[in-house]
Symmetry: C2
Subunit: 203 residues, 2 copies
DNA sequence: ACTTTGAGTTAACAGTGTAAACTTAACGGT
DNA sequence: ACCGTTAAGTTTACACTGTTAACTCAAAGT
């Protein structure tokens, strides 16, 4: 036939258009300030047409969050370094680069209330946890190879490192680094990447 | 007279009642989900009465944020330990205790958009920065006494420590610690407090 | 006793998310 | 070539939001 194929393709195109418009508007004006009517106007459809593709406003947010995590995971997985410690360093840099290059996604991904979070991760939690598993894998390996101390459980060490990296990203995103002169920004992120590991290295 | 005094007192009482009702509702339902009408209903006044006491909804949020920082500062200032490193450790514990005991305030204080932030800190920025200055003071002292290495600027070290502590608090608040078994929670926070410092200690 | 003041209310507006009813065009089977 | 069905989209409507303007009314000052 091909005609049903075309319909399906058109459906997916519109869904994509909604997501693109929503993402751009969220970036420009923030999630709360964007109404379905604004999205509808941008894609030149009636507001209620969106409900044929998404259950409600939160669901389109959840879809964008999913995309954000996939994007982050893709970039993380491009890191192929044998040494686990160096891999962690590079992972932190990758994480920071993501928050710098896609602040819009990061804001959506980590400034959410619980319901939205579950909506985003209920269907595919594996994607959201892969960034964290990146850390866990490296920590496990570093402990096995003797580069990391083993006086604390791996899960605690992994969470500690994650907290450090996430904290720096969160402060930067919330524009809480106004006390830090611009010329020290790079040194700060490098310091975070290093300090998050140094406490766990042997000697 | 006394009568004008009573009027003034009544004014302040109602303002307090608005703030209390708003805080409780924000805790229960989140900032976005609370309408002025709900607040008004709880204090048994008409919705527009609130506008006689606050310019708009954001201003009542800003007022609560200010209260939150004052509360945090009060608790921080009760720490009177000479040794700067031990003071930092205790400060981190105090910070975590605050997020545990007043998650409602912490959420308001650190999940805000920029305009709200400026509204909250425009009038009194000193209060908001005092928690950070607590860190700076201790780091400066630790560098002077030789307990901390001095191969990085104090401002970078202070931010790094802040990022670590804030990151742990933010993860806990966003309920991102589901991978961490309950029995490891205390160890995690202690690990964060320790790891945030260990990278900067001499030998 | 009269005016002024200020606290509070009612009514209204523009904008929100969302559901239900309606339209319209394209498809599959006869 | 027609017809019924189905899917896509629109119009209309509702209950709710933050906020402004106009109004009421009791107390205070003179």
């Amino acid at each position: 036939m091909g005609s049903t194929d075309r319909r399906k393709r058109e459906r997916e195109n519109l869904q994509r258009a909604i997501l693109d418009a929503a993402r751009d508007l969220f970036v420009e004006q923030g999630f709360a300030a964007v109404s379905l009517r604004k999205i509808a106007e941008r894609i030149e459809y009636s507001p209620t047409a969106i409900y044929l593709y998404f259950k409600d406003k939160n669901e389109i947010l959840a879809a964008l969050i999913g995309e954000g995590f996939e994007l982050l995971c893709t970039q993380m997985h491009q890191i192929q370094i044998e040494d686990p410690v160096e891999r962690l360093r590079q992972g932190a840099r990758c994480y920071f680069a993501f928050t710098r290059n896609h602040p819009q996604y990061y804001a959506l991904m980590f400034e959410l209330c619980d319901e939205d979070f579950e909506k985003a991760f209920g269907p595919k939690p594996e994607s959201g946890m892969q960034a964290f598993n990146f850390i866990r894998g490296a920590v496990t390996q570093a402990m096995a190879s003797g580069e990391f101390r083993t006086d604390q459980p791996e899960i605690v060490v992994s969470h500690t490192i994650w907290a450090h990296i996430h904290g720096a990203a969160a402060l930067a995103l919330a524009r809480r680094l106004t006390m830090l002169p611009e010329e020290h920004h790079a040194a700060f992120f490098e310091s975070v990447a290093e300090a998050s590991l140094r406490g766990f290295l042997v000697n």
